[in-house]
């Protein structure tokens, strides 16, 4: 009894000596959100859990060149290219809206990204960040036979994604992206309208401003699709960051940039060496300062 009291008293007195230690006890670690799971709103092709914060506007540009294997004649694919430009705006810290235009099949697209759950550390931390993406894509291309008057509904596809990511360490982030794509019109009655795919993405930061990135989609019913055989898209690249720009430079077998294209319509294969060089440039403008 006495010893215990002595001990308690001693601990108390010695704790007083270490004011900084006492301060740590008093100021409990607050819950702090984890930043920069990915440095861009895209892992590479796929959207990442990241979004624009309130009042930030992103100008996003994607570019995919032709086949690397085309050799010198086409300058390794540089002569041919598909691109996509979009503007994406943070309405609130958890809601982003974007609209864009892709050259391949002349698509216009619009999306909403909801980011309700942010990974955070400290007291009552949250292990993952979750964003939901709802996207509509519509082709404005003329069909081969002008007598086909295809209405807007049939030109439209949808993509719903749940993006779940965790920054395991400052140098490692991983994302899982279950995806549902619905195409209102498909090539033949045998082609399924709805397609499920599971995306995997990762970022491995190796210097303060550069990271290795990788992304893969497994398309469940890819063998049911008619026409040219489809392949699962695999993309490997680097992120280079300079202030408010992020450059993403990569090699991929997917030539399309929008979800219905690169997930459901990739006809080139890594095994056959059918690869494309691509890049994304993201520039963020602050439209509204806090307070």
């Amino acid at each position: 009894m006495f010893c215990l009291l002595l001990l308690a008293g001693f601990i108390r007195v010695s704790a007083q000596d270490d004011l900084l230690g006492m301060l740590d006890q008093e100021v409990k670690l607050a819950r702090v959100p984890v930043d920069a799971t990915f440095k861009s709103t895209r892992v590479i092709n796929c959207h990442s859990i990241e979004r624009m914060q309130k009042g930030d506007l992103e100008f996003h540009m994607g570019h995919r060149f032709g086949l690397l294997s085309s050799g010198f004649k086409d300058f390794f694919g540089l002569d041919e290219s598909g691109s996509h430009i979009s503007l994406e705006y943070g309405i609130t810290d958890w809601l982003e809206a974007g609209a864009g235009r892709a050259t391949i099949d002349e698509y216009v697209n619009g999306f909403l990204k909801l980011s309700p759950i942010r990974q955070s550390r400290g007291n009552k931390g949250i292990p993952v960040s979750v964003s939901f993406l709802a996207q509509t894509m519509m082709t404005t291309k003329d069909y081969p036979d002008p007598s086909w008057s295809v209405d807007a509904i049939h030109r439209t596809s949808y993509c719903m994604q749940m993006l779940v990511a965790r920054k395991f360490a400052p140098w490692l982030s991983l994302q899982l992206s279950p995806t549902w794509i619905h195409r209102n019109m498909v090539a033949t009655p045998q082609d399924p309208n709805g397609l499920f795919a599971l995306g995997f993405g990762g970022r491995l930061k190796f210097t303060q401003r550069t990271a290795l990135t990788c992304e893969y989609f497994w398309l469940k019913d890819r063998l049911l699709l008619t026409g040219a055989p489809r392949y699962n898209p695999l993309t490997i690249g680097v992120d280079i960051e300079t202030g408010s720009h992020v450059f993403q430079l990569f090699v991929t077998n997917a030539s399309a940039i929008l979800e219905n294209g690169y997930i459901a319509g990739t006809t080139d294969s890594w095994k056959k060496g059918e690869l494309h060089v691509g890049f994304n440039i993201s520039r963020v403008f602050t439209m509204m300062k806090k307070k």
């Binding site: 670690l29 702090v32 920069a36 960051e241 300079t242």
Partner: protein, 190 residues
């Protein structure tokens, strides 16, 4: 016998603990502001959750803050600050532990500005440097107000600025500190 001893011990220890507590002043909502001023862009941030103890008997001062809790005027600057400059995940806290040099408790009771010099160890970005800065303390009724303005050099704390943004980030950062202490009560706010 045991009981008596225990009571005796309590009688001895309790006043001792109580008396040190009388001289401890505390805040968990101190304010720190800093600005990086260049011709191209001003980047500034506030922190409203600085924790600090001030021992009015010994003149000892300690501070602690979470780097992640700085609120920037530019949201993107906040991410860059944490991710690229101070590496908040690796070094989540910044601390100071020091003492007022030539401290005289009697000057604090005068209800007027007491200009002081504080010397101690400032830790930012995992680097600890010995600093000596001026400040003012003043007791007003049941609170003690402490303010200071001083500069830090990013170099001292090995915070690197890449060449490409060198003209956008100042190398000398002025820091404003404003603490309002209340008498410390254990288990405050519970």
């Amino acid at each position: 016998m045991m009981k008596k001893l225990a009571i005796l011990f309590l009688l001895m220890v309790v006043p001792l603990v109580a008396s040190t507590q009388d001289t401890l002043w505390f805040t968990r909502s101190g304010h720190i502001y800093f600005i990086s001023h260049t011709d191209i862009i001003d980047i500034d941030a506030n922190h409203y959750q600085v924790g600090s103890f001030f021992n009015t008997r010994s003149g000892e001062l300690v501070f602690t803050l979470l780097m992640k809790s700085f609120q920037f005027t530019l949201p993107l600057a906040e991410e860059h600050f944490n991710e690229n400059y101070v590496e908040s995940e690796k070094y989540p806290k910044s601390t100071f532990k020091g003492k007022i040099t030539g401290y005289d408790p009697d000057k604090l009771l005068s209800n007027a500005d007491y200009p002081v010099e504080v010397e101690g160890d400032l830790t930012i970005h995992g680097v600890t440097a010995r600093v000596k800065e001026k400040g003012i303390i003043r007791k007003n009724g049941d609170e003690i107000r402490a303010t200071s303005r001083f500069n830090i050099l990013l170099d001292t704390y090995r915070i690197k600025v890449p060449n490409i943004v060198a003209d956008r980030v100042a190398t000398v950062i002025p820091i404003d500190v404003e603490m309002v202490y209340k008498l410390y009560q254990k288990k405050e706010g519970k």
